[in-house]
């Protein structure tokens, strides 16, 4: 039977629902005869003692989660999410480039690099996509760095902010939707789909959702 470490950060336990879900993982693993221990960022030297690592903290090459994932991978553990997936899915430029390459239908997207931020370019983007357009920082999650802009001034404002961290950004046509899907995939197989409802009167999910839950399983 396997010894599973579950990498979490403190924030994973602030929402009682998430805390319960984590506990469910633990009991399920234990029922099946595995050991399942939460591992926080100050216990990383314990990685090598385990057979497998399950990451529940936000997976992004910017964060400790990548270090944890790659360390475990190098040490021969089974890892979810594996470092390559983190590298791809944690970066919208990477993700959308692969979508385009493999002809996965996507919202019309262009990549804007820092050296190209000038009046003519901005105007040509508005001409191509219409107004507003959606600007995304590659590292966004939970809609945090996804903004809608309709004029040159706000385009410049938002891109200036996002360019501080990333030299390339994604710009998309605005295609509002009432919901989107979260699809859980493990080992190339779809495990579940979850419908995310966009709150009424808004065009994206917030990092913090108030009121009624906006998920439908």
């Amino acid at each position: 039977m396997a010894s599973v470490a579950c990498f979490v950060e403190k924030y994973n336990f602030t929402d009682p629902k998430e805390a319960r879900a984590l506990q469910n993982f633990k009991t399920t693993a234990e029922k099946r005869g595995h050991t399942f221990n939460f591992m926080f960022r100050d216990n990383l030297q314990e990685i090598s003692k385990h057979d497998a690592l399950f990451i529940r903290a936000t997976t992004d090459p910017l964060f400790t989660a990548y270090i944890v994932s790659k360390t475990a991978w190098e040490m021969g553990l089974k890892v979810v999410d594996d470092p390559k997936s983190i590298q791809i899915c944690g970066n919208k430029i990477h993700l959308y480039s692969l979508f385009q390459k493999h002809n996965v239908p996507t919202i019309p997207t262009i990549f804007l690099n820092k050296d190209e931020l000038h009046h003519k370019k901005i105007m040509s983007i508005f001409r191509t996509f219409g107004r507003p357009v959606v600007v995304k920082a590659p590292y966004t999650s939970f809609s945090r760095y996804v903004e809608k802009v309709a004029c040159e001034t706000s385009f410049r404002e938002v891109t200036k902010k996002f360019f501080r961290k990333s030299d390339v950004l994604a710009v998309q046509e605005f295609m509002p939707t009432a919901f989107d899907w979260r699809v859980g995939v493990l080992n190339g197989e779809v495990l579940y789909v979850c419908k995310y409802m966009v709150p009424k009167g808004r065009w994206k999910h917030g990092a913090k959702r108030r009121g009624k839950p906006s998920f439908v399983w």
């Binding site: 100050d42 990548y66 270090i67 430029i93 480039s97 990333s166």
Partner: protein
């Protein structure tokens, strides 16, 4: 290792000295007879050539990273690979992969706990940033308050972990150009080995020398201004040399 060209060369002008289709993408002005392109232009192109990405700064999310990524999306062989860029610039992964490849390193600790560093490493200790934004990488702490200050600044207010290593002797920092450096002996050997593992053409390495043995401690990007005319010459020569020998293609 023999080399197979998987991809067609669209532009025959790219053939030089037996190595076909090497495109140098660089934000640095180089004197090379190889076809060269600015990163912003390459990012808009779909040129399917062997891509040699020369940049003073390869950090994640910077242009140097995106050039390698773009080359990979185009299925081009590229130096350096985006994965190696990512790993080499995160000290714990740098050290882990380096030590697996036989490069001497000291034991390290990834943490945001001052207490843990004091109990497991003690003083003096050298602290490297783990956050990927940091440019100049490390601080040496000889006591608790210096350690708190180092953790606060390198951890961006404790938001990120840091990577602590024992400080046993002076830290030597030097430029590494395709694994070549101006120092000799064990330091030179380490520089070459780090290049062999990660293939980062341009970077600054930090090592500690203990009884003439070098231990790898960290890697960071160079500032453009740090590149002397002599470095640029070495860089250009290396590029020409590597493409002549075909070594470029052994990624």
């Amino acid at each position: 290792m023999s080399v197979n060209f998987k991809y067609d060369c669209y532009n025959t002008d790219h053939s030089i000295s037996g190595v076909k289709c090497v495109l140098v993408v660089s934000n640095i002005d180089l004197t090379t007879n190889l076809p060269t392109m600015k990163p912003s232009k390459f990012l808009e192109s779909s040129i399917k050539d062997f891509t040699l990405n020369i940049n003073n700064d390869y950090r994640y999310l910077k242009t140097g990273y995106y050039v390698s990524l773009h080359a990979e999306i185009l299925d081009n062989a590229v130096i350096p690979k985006s994965e190696n860029i990512l790993d080499a610039h995160r000290t714990p992964i740098l050290l882990l992969r380096a030590s697996k490849a036989g490069i001497p390193t000291f034991p390290y600790l990834v943490t945001s706990s001052v207490k843990q560093i004091i109990s497991e490493i003690g003083f003096p200790v050298v602290v490297f940033a783990v956050n990927p934004f940091s440019y100049d990488g490390f601080k040496i702490a000889k006591n608790r308050s210096a350690l708190y200050r180092a953790m606060k600044s390198l951890g961006m207010n404790y938001k990120f972990d840091i990577c602590a290593q024992p400080f046993k002797s002076e830290i030597i920092s030097f430029k590494s150009i395709f694994g070549k450096c101006e120092l000799e002996g064990d330091v030179e050997r380490i520089s070459k080995k780090v290049y062999d593992v990660f293939k980062i053409p341009l970077c600054k390495l930090h090592v500690q020398l203990l009884k003439e043995k070098a231990y790898l401690c960290g890697l960071q990007p160079l500032e453009n201004a740090e590149l002397s005319p002599r470095d640029l010459q070495v860089l250009s020569e290396e590029i020409s040399q590597l493409s002549k020998n075909g070594e470029l293609l052994v990624g």
